[in-house]
């Protein structure tokens, strides 16, 4: 085939134009301004010190610097974290209702010499005495405790998620511009959503612990309230952005708002809703471990207790448990999402 090349330049071409270029005086000025701000805030957030300390740590590790605060701190904690504590030891003498013939699963009794030093009031000298004590040893006693606490954490996350879904459905209805009742309900719903979203779980939990006491109630409510704001916003936006065509078809025959929502909108948005809800569940499990730190139940409460008592070997066990659960949850929700969408 005979293809004629397009003549270059074509007739009437002018080249007195250019695309917008991102390196004019204005941009340079902006860049300098941003740099100045970063320098200022970098000093306030001790970024300079961070660089020095991290440099020292790296230097210490490769043998260039003889001391590093960071490495010292980490190795002290690291050393006391290893090995993680899985078992428990209790003095048999203190266990009043122990049946020696029927010990708990895997438990055994050991006799150990307990050496104690104390001051003799007559001679004013330190004396060493030793006595034999019997200990009940459960090799997986602490692992079991952590398991139970972890379960509680997951339960808190599930209930928090449930609570947020139930709360966010009416919120989403009223916060969707095209389904809300009137301007007042719209503003009210949007306001509530903003309020809920603006309150961090940890701080809400702090106050709820004051109101409901230590334990899971505060945890469930704190997670639920925050997530309800998140879900309400996203559910509402999906309703607003759903394809209008099927809705118009149902509106045209006078189907009514609720039925139109159910048949014209829900099938479109449900897969996305499931994705949001799974994300919230995932997030709630992670947050549930954190809000336990302020006493809102679950593994976090246990973690805080052990941390405050410097029992880093127990802390290690808890961290391992958290890691395993978050990992498994990630796998689970990825699989569920792939199946549903």
């Amino acid at each position: 085939m005979d293809i004629k090349p397009i003549p270059v330049p074509a007739q009437g071409t002018t080249l007195d134009w250019q695309l917008d270029q991102p390196y004019r005086a204005k941009h340079l000025l902006l860049l300098l301004l941003v740099l100045a701000v970063l320098l200022f805030t970098g000093h306030r957030t001790e970024m300079d010190k961070m660089v020095v300390m991290t440099g020292q740590a790296v230097g210490n590790l490769v043998g260039l610097a003889d001391d590093s605060q960071v490495v010292r701190g980490l190795s002290r904690v690291g050393a006391s974290m290893w090995p993680p504590a899985f078992g428990t030891e209790e003095e048999v003498a203190r266990l009043t209702d122990l049946d020696r013939d029927q010990l708990p699963f895997l438990a055994k009794i050991e006799t150990r010499e307990k050496v104690e030093q104390h001051l003799n009031p007559d001679t004013l000298e330190m004396e060493t005495s030793s006595e034999k004590v019997e200990l009940l040893i459960k090799p997986l006693g602490y692992a079991w405790t952590v398991f139970i606490k972890m379960l509680e954490t997951i339960e808190i996350a599930i209930w928090g998620t449930l609570f947020s879904v139930v709360l966010s459905i009416p919120l989403a209805w009223f916060a969707a511009r095209n389904y809300t009742v009137n301007h007042f309900t719209y503003t009210l719903a949007r306001g509530t959503i903003s309020l809920l979203r603006s309150m961090p779980e940890l701080i809400v939990a702090l106050f709820l612990v004051l109101a409901y006491g230590f334990g899971p109630i505060a945890g469930v409510l704190a997670l639920g309230l925050h997530a309800a704001g998140f879900l309400g916003k996203f559910y509402a936006e999906d309703i607003e952005n759903a394809d209008k065509k099927p809705q118009e078809a149902l509106e045209a025959i006078g189907a009514g708002k609720l039925k139109t929502l159910w048949y014209g909108v829900m099938p479109q948005v449900v897969p996305q809703y499931i994705a949001y809800t799974l994300y919230i569940l995932d997030r709630n499990v992670r947050m549930a471990t954190v809000i336990g730190l302020v006493g809102a139940g679950g593994i976090g409460q246990e973690l805080k207790g052990r941390f405050d008592m410097f029992q880093y070997d127990h802390v290690a066990t808890i961290l391992i448990a958290i890691f395993i659960v978050v990992f498994l949850l990630d796998q689970f929700s990825a699989r569920l999402r792939a199946k549903l969408i």
Partner: protein, 268 residues
Amino acid sequence: MIEFQQISKKWPDGTLALSDVNVSIPKGQFCVILGPSGAGKSTLLRTVNGLTQTTGGRINIDGTELTAATARTLRQRVAMIHQHFNLTLRMSVAANVLAGLLPVVSTGRAILGWFEPAHRAKACALLARVGLDPKHLLRRAGELSGGQQQRVGVARAFMLDPEVVLADEPVASLDPKISREILSLIRDAARERNATVLCSLHQVDLAREFGDRIVGMRDGKIVFDGTPAEFTDERMEALYQGAQWEDNAVAEAADLYNDALQPQLVAA
């Protein structure tokens, strides 16, 4: 029977989409509306079920005047078939057809998806009527071809046995063969129920073939009203090219001729 009396529609931005439209479509008639883009065809159709509010004039449907009070019940008697089919694509074919019954089904039943056996039987019958294989019944509507989707749209439209069927470019995105099939379906199903059809089209040949009557619109006004035979090639040229026809003396005669299907020119 649909009577438009001095219907006008001015959009908030000032566009006059309809100005003083007077036309009445007798019961059972298949009336095709032709006209260039922006003539006001969609706007006119949508005033019938109140999707577009008029800014002047009156609409009577089989003797009932369309007002805010009667809109809800009137809508159940006026079906609509859409250019883009307007199905819920992630929902099954069966659910889409049954959705045509939503105005008369209780909210509880609708949400639970419990449709009476009689309703489900009717959905099946209509799907068979529009020539959709029963094996598609529980497939997602989005998996169907355009032609099949419009069949579902037609079935949905006839679920409530409408007295009026509005079809806004129902075959605009379909091939010529399927277009004929769909238009035949609409015409025949409407005839069986003695329903009035108001159908806008862009294909003049289809308009001549299917219309009992052709109404030509331009700039919100009716500029032609007559039988397909009277819609000659010159008329067609004029409608789309925008040639100005003589005087507006005929305007006064409009109402007189309307029912007799006389060809006429209303002031262009």
